[in-house]
């Protein structure tokens, strides 16, 4: 089979699974998850075949697998959609396929498949646990199965469809379609437990916040289409188009069209990848079930934002001379670096295990954006690649931890938050698999030297920043990396090390194999995913494995970016910040006693409070945007516009028509039309009454009559009419 | 001298034309002669059948049967005929005289009419019409008429009941019978008897045995023989339609019934067992009738065997068996055969026959599976406890619920 045909088929199984689950197998939980897993597995197999073919083909950069279909006519031409597999797509496809499959598999265990139905569970709320009796008659509280189990898998399948569409599309419009499908899924899944007010609010917040970014992005697409006449990659990334974009000046801000488009598209990324200032939705999105957090808000969907800017890098970097960054890149570098540090500081003061990871995600995405901003294209893609694995691993691990602690909560009946890290501790012995995999993920996140994937990608970004002599970015990112290592170790120490600080944590148990197996798989990737990107001139271990990422992914661009020469300064920075942060985190939080405050709170004082409340951004937005919007809606739109002007006009028109109708009725309808109708009816009645004696009910008489009349007519015709 | 019938006909024709008779008249005379000879021959065989039937039933029931008049009692039927002829002829009060007398004649005549299309030898057949199979069906339905006339004209409620039953049975079983008849028609691509016989290499019993079985069963039902003899059913409606008949009128019914059985046997032999086909029949055509009658008597023996081995079925069972089992099966068989025939066009005869046979056996196997399942559920249903003897006011469901 042609590779391009196979590529077309990649998104098909998930969407089929979605519709099948929704329409047919909604009632059967096992059928639903079998369908979803089978579908994603088929897509996974297809993706792996594509990846293998792509790597074998050798020069995919010049000759991507592509195929095009006409979609809808635009004047004389057709708007074409198609598929496009170049090295960047391959890399993305690789981690997307694996993470989606693994997470869907994990969801089976996470949503408590095989557990009894809950005592008081109802759709729209997380399961509350069920009571079972064992043989001796003792009652136990055990986790109960999710009431909307099938729906969850349907949504995950739809999400997978969106992601595949986004990744394989050959133009920005279908990419945008996939992007919006994922936006919808994100909304549906964050609000999955829709009976929880906080989940509802988070879903709306996420949807509206990303919508802000999407609108701007759509503007960028429209502008690009109006200039280039196409949204296909091969057209818009061609030299002529790029030159044209650079030479055209935009109508506003006095910048070139390329810069404006780049900024618009980047703003879409800001929304999707939760960059400052649209970062507020991502932490709240942790209201959804943990697999959702892992899938959407760590591994894939937020990656889509970064994927977009990596994809449109030619536009962003259009007009770059001799390594001089463009305006767009400067803005990206600034926002990325700022977000990286900003989110890392917030993460330090969070107690919720998932929120820490959420902010770390924002921070890491900032890293990637900053890398793009300084022109480190390959490094950004590389970090995107490795980050997907270890962040998925961390989220799934945290889900496993929460699950374990929830089990303990159900067992002991304590009323504590099973997601608060200060209620944990000592889980290392209770949940060994979770601990070790989480540790691997954590080390990868903090960039633990040599062994972890995160080290190599992060190191490459720092090395790029150093090589481009972009000192502010280097310093900010290095500090962010330090904080990252710190809060990662804080999390690990609080969660797994030391003693159990609550009874529930003491009764936690290891999760089922359906949840542990994905953790192990992802842990392997969290280690090995970095190996293909080890710089070749790295001391001692460089060159064993060729720097595959650089050559392969770099091939996507028109000209291969030059390799950064090895320098010891960024290496030392990496080593110091990661090891130092880890050590610091362990030292501060080791052996924290039961009920103790966060040691940082004493140290930082009011700053801690500021961090814990995320710099009061939510409140700020509330005051700046939400309340004015409410006010505007109620006062201006409702009272003034709607009630006074529009309603008034309508009432006026209605009154006129009403009186007109009354005139018509009284002077025309009643006497003329009704009179005529009554006259006709009465006449018919009268005629009928006078003629009804014929109606004897005897069929033979009818026939005789009919024949007599027929004969009469016939004879009349024959004897009178036919005479000349 | 290999073809005596036609030689004698040619000889007679020569004699008659020597007497100065016209050609058309000679044909008419010869045809009438043939009819008379054939009818007489068949009726003589019929007398023999009475003896065979009685001897056979005696053997089945571990008796001797007639053994007084003549050797092995072979003259017994002649004695019976004489007895019937000299019996008093009774006409019931209120009977419709003309119809009452007409009925037995129609009953026997329709059977005789059937012999017109039975090919006796390659060169000897009453009328080789191209709609012979349809003709058989048509004449069969006239036979029904005779029974109805008898039942109605007797002015007797048992007779009328018997007639009712007969109508229900005959009209019902005509459906699978026609469908089964269509199978050899389909294979031979003709409704002419001679063509069908000539087309039978191998005999159709080896190609479509299921059709033969269906035809046999529905024919037995048409005959009104046990297990389908509910139109006579001595123990229920005394003797059904011929309850009021005595003497030779009854004799006609009786002879007609026996002869009908032999006729059906001859038809089945013709359609499925190769008719007059046998060794050396092409050289010596006179061997044809011999082969035909050997086969016909074999089938006749089978019918007798069935008759004296099975109990009578109830009328609802009889109709249910037809509409719910035999008709669907026959339809299915016809469809399968038609499709296979189309599929196998151009295949050598051997393979064609083998595949057809295989398909037939497959259908039989599937039918048996379904029947077994049905029987199992039926046993369970019958085995369920049912309340016995409750007053009409009691709600039966309630009673069952209490147990």
């Amino acid at each position: 089979m042609e590779p391009s045909i196979l590529v077309w088929l990649l998104p098909v199984p998930p969407i089929l699974a979605f519709f099948l689950i929704i329409f047919l197998t909604n009632r059967s939980k096992s059928l639903s998850h079998i369908l979803a897993i089978t579908a994603t597995f088929l897509s996974f197999i297809g993706s792996m075949v594509i990846v293998t073919l792509a790597i074998r083909s050798g020069h995919l950069g010049e000759e991507p697998f592509t195929s095009v279909l006409n979609w809808f006519p635009t004047g004389d031409t057709w708007f074409q959609i198609g598929v496009w597999v170049d090295p960047l797509t391959v890399a993305t496809l690789f981690f997307v396929a694996i993470t989606i499959l693994v997470i869907i598999f994990y969801s089976v265990g996470y949503q408590n498949y095989g557990q009894p139905k809950g005592d008081h569970d109802q759709p729209g709320l997380p399961p509350h646990g069920a009571t079972v009796e064992d043989e001796q008659g003792h009652k136990h509280r055990v986790p109960s199965i999710e009431p909307m189990y099938s729906r969850f898998f349907a949504f995950l399948s739809l999400f997978a469809f969106g992601m595949y569409v986004l990744v394989i599309s050959n133009n920005l419009l279908t990419l945008f379609v996939g992007w919006e499908i994922m936006g919808l899924c994100s909304y549906l899944l964050i609000g999955f437990w829709y009976a929880k007010p906080s989940a509802r609010a988070a879903a709306i917040k996420a949807f509206l916040t990303t919508r802000v970014g999407d609108v701007v992005m759509l503007l960028g697409l429209a502008y690009l289409y109006s200039l280039a006449g196409s949204l296909s990659y091969d057209v818009i990334f061609s030299e002529e188009t790029l030159a044209m974009l650079t030479s055209t000046s935009a109508p506003i801000f006095g910048v070139s069209a390329a810069v404006l488009i780049g900024l618009f598209l980047f703003f879409g990324t800001v929304g999707k990848s939760a960059q400052f200032p649209l970062h507020v939705w991502l932490p709240d999105a942790m209201e959804g079930p943990t697999p959702v957090s892992a899938m959407i808000h760590a591994a894939t969907m937020v990656s889509a934002g970064v994927y977009l800017v990596v994809r449109v890098f030619p536009i962003i970097s259009a007009g770059m001379h001799h390594g001089e960054p463009t305006l767009t890149m400067n803005v990206m570098a600034f926002i990325g670096a700022f977000t990286g540090l900003f989110a890392a500081t917030i993460a330090v003061a969070q107690n919720d295990i998932k929120r820490v990871l959420a902010f770390s995600t924002i921070s890491q995405l900032g890293y990637m954006i900053a890398a793009i901003g300084i022109g480190a294209y390959v490094a950004a893609a590389f970090h995107l690649f490795t980050h997907a694995f270890f962040k998925a691993l961390l989220f799934l691990g945290s889900g496993s931890v929460i699950h374990g602690v929830e089990h303990g909560v159900l067992h002991t009946g304590e009323e504590i938050d099973p997601q608060d890290m200060f209620n944990m501790g000592g889980l290392r012995k209770k949940m060994p698999f979770t601990f070790w995999t989480f540790l691997i993920g954590g080390l990868a996140l903090s960039g633990f030297p040599f062994l972890s994937a995160g080290f190599w990608s992060k190191d490459e970004i720092l090395a790029d920043a150093f090589a481009h002599a972009n000192w502010p970015v280097l310093i900010v990112l290095a500090f962010a990396a330090l904080l990252t290592a710190f809060y990662t170790m804080r999390q690990i120490t609080l969660t797994f090390l030391g003693q159990a600080r609550t009874e529930s944590a003491g009764h936690a148990v290891e999760s089922k194999w359906t949840m542990v197996l994905p953790l192990v798989v992802l842990a392997v990737f969290a280690v090995v995913a970095g190996w293909p990107g080890i710089p070749e001139d790295f001391p001692v271990i460089g060159g064993f494995i060729p720097n595959f990422v650089h050559e392969f992914v770099g091939e996507t661009l028109a000209e291969l970016p030059e390799t950064i020469a090895f320098h010891w300064v960024p290496l030392v920075i990496s080593l110091v910040v990661s090891l130092g942060g880890l050590a610091l985190g362990w030292w501060v939080y080791r052996g924290l006693p039961v009920g103790a405050q966060d040691p940082l709170e004493k140290l930082l004082g009011p700053v801690y409070k500021l961090l814990q409340n995320k710099y009061y951004f939510d409140e700020l937005y509330d005051y700046i945007f939400v309340r004015p919007a409410y006010w505007l809606a109620s006062t201006f739109t409702y009272l003034w516009m709607d009630r006074t002007i529009i309603d008034g006009f309508l009432h006026f028109v209605a009154r006129i028509i009403f009186s007109l109708g009354g005139i018509l009725r009284n002077y025309i309808d009643k006497p003329v039309i009704n009179g005529f109708g009554d006259f006709v009816g009465e006449s018919v009645k009268r005629i009928g009454r006078s003629g009804r004696f014929i109606q004897t009910g005897r069929v033979q008489q009818y026939m005789v009559m009919a024949l007599v009349i027929a004969f009469g007519t016939l004879f009349y015709y024959l004897f009178f009419l036919s005479q000349p | 001298m290999s073809d005596p019938v036609n030689s004698i006909a040619a000889w007679l024709r020569a004699i008659f034309s020597g007497w100065g008779l016209s050609d058309g008249l000679i044909t008419v005379i010869l045809a009438l002669l043939g009819v008379v000879i054939l009818a007489t021959f068949v009726l003589v065989v019929d007398i023999l059948l009475v003896w065979i039937e009685r001897k056979m039933v005696a053997r089945f029931q571990d008796r001797f049967g007639p053994n007084r008049v003549g050797p092995f009692g072979i003259i017994q039927p002649i004695a019976d005929v004489i007895k019937l002829l000299i019996k008093e002829d009774i006409l019931p009060i209120g009977a419709d005289k003309f119809i009452f007398n007409l009925a037995p004649i129609i009953a026997l005549a329709t059977v005789l009419l059937l012999w017109a299309v039975v090919p006796l030898a390659p060169t000897v057949i009453g009328a080789d019409i191209n709609v012979a199979v349809l003709y058989v069906v048509a004449i069969g339905s006239i036979g029904t008429l005779g029974i109805i006339m008898a039942g109605w004209a007797s002015n007797n409620k048992y007779a009328l009941l018997g007639a009712f039953r007969t109508v229900a049975q005959m009209i019902a079983y005509e459906v699978p019978m026609i469908i089964a008849l269509l199978v050899p028609v389909l294979l031979a691509r003709s409704m002419g008897m001679q063509t069908i016989v000539a087309a039978q290499s191998p005999w159709y019993i080896f190609v479509v045995p299921l059709a033969a079985v269906i035809l046999l069963v529905s024919s037995i039902a048409e005959l009104g023989r046990t297990p389908f003899d509910i139109s006579e059913a001595e123990s229920e409606i005394v003797a059904g339609f011929h309850i009021e008949y005595t003497g030779m009128k009854f004799g006609l019914f009786y002879a007609g019934e026996l002869l009908h059985a032999l006729t059906v046997s001859a038809l089945i032999s013709t359609l499925f067992l190769g008719g007059w086909r046998g060794p050396f029949v092409d050289q010596v055509p006179i061997l044809g009738p011999v082969y035909l009658f050997i086969k016909a008597f074999l089938v006749y023996y089978l019918i007798m065997w069935i008759r004296y081995s099975f109990p009578r079925v109830r009328i609802d069972q009889m109709l249910g068996f037809n509409w719910k089992f035999l008709t669907p099966l026959a339809l299915f068989l016809l469809i399968v055969v038609a499709i296979l025939d189309k599929v196998l066009a151009g295949v050598p005869t051997l393979w064609y026959s083998l595949v057809m046979l295989g398909a037939n056996l497959l259908i039989v196997w599937g039918t048996l599976l379904i029947l077994r399942k049905y029987a199992r559920t039926e046993r369970i249903r019958i085995g369920e406890e049912r309340p016995v003897a409750v007053s009409p006011e009691t709600d039966v469901k309630e009673l069952v619920g209490q147990e």
């Binding site: 009804r692 109606q695 009910g697 033979q700 | -």
Partner: protein, 102 residues
């Protein structure tokens, strides 16, 4: 040889006799018999026209087959109706079935 006119006149006579039966008889089944006679007359016409006017095309016979089917359907439904009516009114005299009068 017999000309076409014989058959046509025969069919016309049969048709008219049937028509009389339909119009005059009281019993509904007798009316049905009249209808059958009329239908038979029609089929004779069809077959006769086929035989005399266009023996090479089979249209007349095909039409006749359809008429046979219609006749059979009509008798089946008609008799069912009569039996049903008989159950309710204990009569099938056509002039007593006059519920649909004024």
């Amino acid at each position: 040889m017999i000309p076409l006119s014989y058959f046509l006149v025969f069919a016309a006579a049969l048709f008219c006799i049937g028509l009389y039966g339909v119009l005059a008889r009281k019993n509904a089944i007798a009316i049905l018999m009249g209808i059958e006679l009329m239908l038979n007359a029609v089929v004779i016409n069809l077959v006769a026209f086929w035989r005399f006017r266009s023996p090479e095309s089979i249209t007349g016979q095909a039409f006749g087959v359809i008429v046979f089917a219609v006749a059979a359907a009509e008798v089946a439904v008609g008799l069912a109706l009569f039996i049903s009516i008989f159950r309710r009114r204990n009569s099938i005299a056509a002039d007593e079935i006059d519920l649909l009068k004024w």
